[in-house]
Amino acid sequence: MTNVKSIVINMITLGILIFAIMSFTIITQSDNNIDDDFRLTNNTLINDTYGDLETSLDKQTDAQKSLNSTEKSPPSEYIGDLDVSAIISGTRTARSIITGLWNVYIKLPMVILGVNPVVASAISTILLIILVIGIWAIWKGAIT
């Protein structure tokens, strides 16, 4: 059976590796002052993904970045909604890293390959259900 701890560690290191590759590309392009038409950040999905990852991993270093992070947190839309998460916390960092990895691994290839949105939604739903079942199985001890 697979070792859950090694899988989690592998995914985290893989996420850092992917972030390093994207950083190398974006920083090299910006250092060489190329035209805006050829910049990788022109793609909105990569711009949002990289921007969220970079902000989450580098925030709290100065007041301006903390302000940027606070401004990105939208207010609650529902009256009476109980918001138990802090505006700036480790949970937000982990959540943005997970959503960033989701964008890079699943959403971006689907967009690039031109998958039908209905098919993409179905695949995403199946993946999330399998993930929930897997977490339940780990909790019950069926998978170690």
Binding site: T13, I21, R39, L40, I46, Y105
Partner: protein
């Protein structure tokens, strides 16, 4: 009398970057095919040399190494203006997928 166009009529840039941009002016995938060929050559070289030395070759690690090389070449290509953003995103995504599969399968 026939007048032949010089480089200035084909590209605004008369440097090496302008020379490299000439093939991709009408067909943007020209340098993409070159990169695909370089990727195939690197994968074949690594795989078959490993197989001749050790006896077994690992195709996935060869593909991952070649993908890293292609990422660097595509970054240089985007700086020179011969690879557009759309193509760069596709190369980056496919290379990251291959590197990710290799990373997960090795550990």
């Amino acid at each position: 009398m026939v007048t032949y166009p010089d480089l200035s009529s084909l590209s605004n840039d008369s440097s090496i970057a302008g020379l490299l941009q000439v093939p991709s002016a009408n067909y943007v995938y020209f340098w993409v095919w070159i990169l695909a060929g370089i990727w195939t050559i690197i994968v074949s070289t690594i795989y078959f040399s490993e197989r001749s030395k050790i006896g077994t070759g690992k195709i996935l690690s060869a593909m991952a190494v070649a993908s890293m090389v292609i990422i660097m070449l595509s970054v240089i290509g985007s700086i020179l203006g011969i690879i557009t953003v759309d193509i760069m995103v596709r190369i980056l995504v496919l290379s990251c997928v291959i590197i990710g599969i290799w990373w997960i399968s090795v550990k």
